[in-house]
């Protein structure tokens, strides 16, 4: 297993280099640049723009900018934000806790919803319960996140006044209850979307498993229903979903962009939105590399988990 892990990690390096070249080229090819935001200020003269461009190294050829950036990365230097001049690592580090908090809670909520819903719908296939679960899941998948988030704000914050509409904590408070109150709406929105999709995967997977001969054999051996479903059914059905869950987690960590923006959640998604709008190249590249690396790592973790759940997948 260790050999396999080492091999996968070694494979990832050239992949990440290719991603960095493609990403760098795409980001620089997009119209606009970090200095364009200055253009709306009439007191910023064209001479100022030229001066700032020189100071940020943006007057250099793109290939040279890339190698300068790559050289820095190889030395462990992620560069400085073009927006506020602070180290990119510092800007990332201060956003990570908020994102992890949001993602962890929403994934937990989503899993708590998706697993029973998917299993229940599969076991009760064709009944009204299955149809209701399908309807709810379809709605969850189809609802635009920005719209659903705003509706929740209108109901729970503006209408009922039960929950804060945005932010991570009340300034000067930040107690556990205050944190949970702030987390409730964004986590619910993210959880609903994820749970909807996962429950569909699990339902399909579970239906396949339930039809397998070993399930009938287990039932014939007198295995009880709860054990039959959870030990024999779910254990075999949950494998394919695991990869999806972990890749979704990677996507959420690298930016629940819309949700964080609507709920003014100070995480990586908000930072990404801001960096994109301001064409903050160094922050955007850091994002790209970090999220690519995360996808590679979580893919590997998914494989390892799968090996544990189903040792047959470990065979070469």
């Amino acid at each position: 297993m260790i050999g396999r892990v080492v091999w996968r990690v070694a494979q990832a390096f050239p992949l990440l280099v290719i991603v960095s070249i493609a990403g760098f080229a795409l980001i620089h090819a997009a119209p606009g640049g970090p200095l364009d935001i200055y253009l709306s200020n009439p007191n910023v003269r064209p001479e100022d723009i030229a001066r700032l461009k020189r100071s940020l190294g943006l007057d250099q050829p793109v290939w040279l900018q890339y190698f300068t950036w790559l050289g820095g990365l190889a030395r462990g230097e992620w560069g400085y934000s073009f927006t506020d001049g602070r180290p990119v690592v510092e800007r990332f580090a201060e956003r990570v806790p908020a994102t992890l908090e949001l993602v962890a809670v929403s994934l937990l909520l989503a899993a708590l919803a998706a697993v029973p819903a998917g299993v229940y719908a599969a076991v009760q296939r064709g009944t009204w319960v299955d149809r209701a679960a399908t309807g709810i899941a379809m709605a969850g998948i189809s609802l635009p996140v920005f719209w659903f988030g705003l509706v929740l704000q209108l109901i729970f914050a503006v209408g009922l006044g039960w929950l804060p509409s945005a932010g991570r904590a009340t300034p000067g408070d930040g107690g556990l209850v205050d944190r949970i109150e702030h987390l409730a709406l964004p986590a619910s929105v993210l959880a609903l979307v994820q749970a909807a999709a996962w429950s569909r995967y699990l339902r399909a997977s579970m239906i396949d498993v339930l039809a397998q001969p070993f399930m009938l054999a287990a039932q014939a051996r007198g295995v009880g229903r709860p054990r039959l479903v959870w030990r024999h059914g779910v254990r075999n059905a949950v494998g394919p979903m695991l990869t999806v869950v972990l890749l979704d987690a990677a996507m959420l960590v690298s930016g629940a962009v819309v949700t964080e923006s609507i709920f003014a959640w100070p995480g990586l998604g908000s930072l990404f939105t801001e960096a994109l709008a301001r064409r903050d190249y160094s922050v955007l590249m850091a994002f790209l590399m970090a999220s690519s690396a995360l996808v590679v790592v979580l893919n590997l973790v998914a494989d390892l988990c799968l090996m544990r759940l189903d040792p047959r997948t470990a065979e070469p």
Binding site: P31, G32, D36, Y38, S40, N41, P42, N43, V44, R45, P46, E47, D48, L52, S55, T83, D84, G85, R86, R95, A98, L109, L112, P116, A117, V119, Y120, V123, Q124, R125, L150, L152, Q153, L154, A157, V158, W162, P164, S165, A166, G167, T170, P171, I180, E181, A187, S188, A191, I207, L210, P226, L228, W230, I262, A264, P266, G267, S270, T273, E274
Partner: protein, 547 residues
């Protein structure tokens, strides 16, 4: 019984019940299902501002974002008031030729004498002196620092300091907007001397000022909390409000929802399409003010040959029903304007050529210019080429998209085709700065000083300036440069009036309407005056008082 038709086990039922409990409790249970004040109401203890973005830096000279937060901390020698008059702040007076503060020198330059108020101190207790003026000029002109703009500072040859309260600024040439030279404040010499200011994040994220507030906390991505400075130099118990909380809420809908739920009390620059949502609020009032910006269609004469003909430009003016757009799309919030200097400015004149909505006149002008409808498309042609151009605008800006569509229809009615091209804001900025557009629907934020040279002088086309219509008129250019090289306010006004008349004759662009500024503030807030310039509404925050 096959597995697929099994009854759900008790475990599954329990799990389903748990799911419901968890979901419901996560959404509402923790809140105790009760209506409550999600935030305290506005008071002199705390005023919460819903701000659309997080500042990049609190260094007023480096930021490229509106300076609302910085204005509360760092004060300039002067400030522009709600009527765009330049008034003294840290200076005793605004220097003028009349009060002897401005003296033209024989070498073609000028000396401006700034006298600081007596007893001024930085928030750390150190005295504010003329050495800070000198340091500010030297720091901004130092090639190792990268402030946002060096405008005006690069024309200063030296600063002499006869005493601790007097700084004489020597200019190499006459510089008309000198009164706004130090509107962004001073840099504290005793804190920044000998340092790399770009990297001085202790100052850049927590600047030392003389203003009514100082930074208490900056929670990145969330908020900035300012607290009242004890012993503020104005005395009289000012400011009244103890703490100002700027919450960063980039999403417009979220910002307005927070205003409606009472979680924020002030929303500066309320978008027009949110006016109705807030207008009837019992606790909030929307303050309307004529802005120092205007919406305009720039016509790129270099890209579209037809725009080089003034008859075509005038025809486009006559064909645009600007009053209808203002009444309908803009719901009467923005008045039609006829030129670049806005009514809030002391240099404004209304005595310019006007182009009323008159499609018949537009058609006649286009006929006269040789553009006639020949084919079946209804689009005018000349020499086999259609009168057709791209009309570029910002994507996702609903009002602007609607205005673009209205103009497209109105111009189509006289045989002119405008093809709407939408781009995101950042991409758009790079395109217009490079002159890569046919016609551009956008706004110009005008400087507090009514300088037009940058926008209309023949030698100020991109990348040297913002003459993105590529207008080349020697008479206008001469007027504009003359207006920049006088400190005689009356003479400057007459030159700028003449320039406005010339611009109206030439129609290099199609002015549409004033960008009326909307600011949502508590009804209980007294002392609020607003401000049409970049100084923002917080320029007189020391006078604000929640009743």
């Amino acid at each position: 019984m096959t597995p697929s038709t099994m009854k759900p086990s008790i475990g599954i039922r329990l799990a389903a019940a748990a799911l419901v409990v968890v979901t419901v409790s996560s959404a509402v249970g923790v809140a105790g299902c009760r209506r409550r004040a999600v935030a305290p109401p506005p008071s002199n203890d705390l005023l919460v501002i819903g701000y659309d973005r997080e500042p990049d830096t609190l260094n007023r000279f480096s930021t490229h974002i509106l300076e609302d937060v910085q204005t509360c901390i760092v004060e300039g020698l002067t400030v522009t008031d709600e009527k765009m008059n330049v008034v003294a702040l840290l200076a005793e007076d605004v220097p003028t030729p009349r009060n002897g503060g401005v003296v033209l020198t024989p070498d073609g330059g000028m000396d401006v004498t700034w006298r600081l108020r007596d007893g001024l101190r930085w928030h750390d207790g150190a005295p504010v002196t003329s050495a800070d003026v000198t340091f500010t000029v030297e720091a901004i002109n130092d090639p190792d620092w990268n402030p946002e703009s060096t405008d005006g500072f690069d024309r200063i040859s030296s600063v002499s300091t006869p005493d601790a309260r007097t700084a004489v600024v020597h200019y190499k040439e006459v510089y008309a907007p000198y009164a706004l030279q130090f509107v962004r404040g001073l840099l504290p010499r005793h804190v920044l001397e000998g340092r790399d200011i770009d990297a001085a994040n202790d100052y850049n994220r927590n600047p030392l000022g003389t203003g009514p507030y100082r930074l208490k906390e900056w929670k990145t991505g969330e908020y900035i909390l300012l607290e009242r400075v004890r012993g503020y130099w104005r005395g009289g118990g000012l400011p009244h409000i103890r703490q100002l909380l700027f919450k960063f809420l980039p999403n417009t809908n979220t910002r307005v929802n927070q205003l409606k739920s009472g979680e924020v009390h002030v929303v500066p620059l309320l978008p027009w399409d949110k006016f109705r949502e807030v207008a009837d609020s019992p606790t909030t009032v929307v303050h309307r003010m004529t802005g120092n910006s205007y919406e305009v269609v720039s016509l790129n004469q270099r890209r579209v040959g037809a725009f080089a003909d003034v008859r075509v430009r005038r025809a486009l003016m006559h064909a645009a029903d600007r009053a209808l757009i203002a009444r309908s799309v803009l719901e009467g919030l923005a008045p039609v304007v006829d030129g670049p200097i806005q009514p809030v400015s002391w240099a404004f004149t209304d005595d310019v050529a006007k182009y009323a909505y008159d499609p018949a006149r537009a058609r006649a002008l286009l006929d006269e210019a040789g553009w006639r409808v020949r084919g079946t498309t209804g689009i005018r042609e000349r020499g086999g080429r259609p009168l057709s151009f791209g009309l570029m605008a910002q994507a996702g800006f609903a009002i602007r998209e609607n205005v673009a569509q209205a103009l497209q229809k109105q111009w189509r009615d006289v045989g002119v085709e405008a093809r709407i091209e939408l781009h995101d804001g950042t991409a758009l900025a790079s395109l217009w700065f490079a002159g890569k557009f046919d016609a551009l629907l956008h706004w110009w934020h005008m400087p507090a000083d009514p300088e037009l040279t940058l926008f209309f002088a023949a030698d100020r086309v991109p990348p040297a300036g913002r003459n993105i219509s590529y207008l080349a008129d020697s008479e206008l250019t001469e007027l504009l440069y003359a207006s920049d090289r006088t400190v005689d306010l009356e003479r400057r006004r007459s030159l700028l009036v003449a320039a406005q008349k010339r611009i109206a004759e030439l129609v290099p662009e199609i002015p549409l309407y004033n960008i009326t500024r909307l600011d949502a503030v508590p009804r209980a807030l007294g002392g609020f005056k607003g401000n049409p310039t970049n100084a923002g509404i917080f320029w007189n925050v020391h006078e604000w008082n929640v009743r």
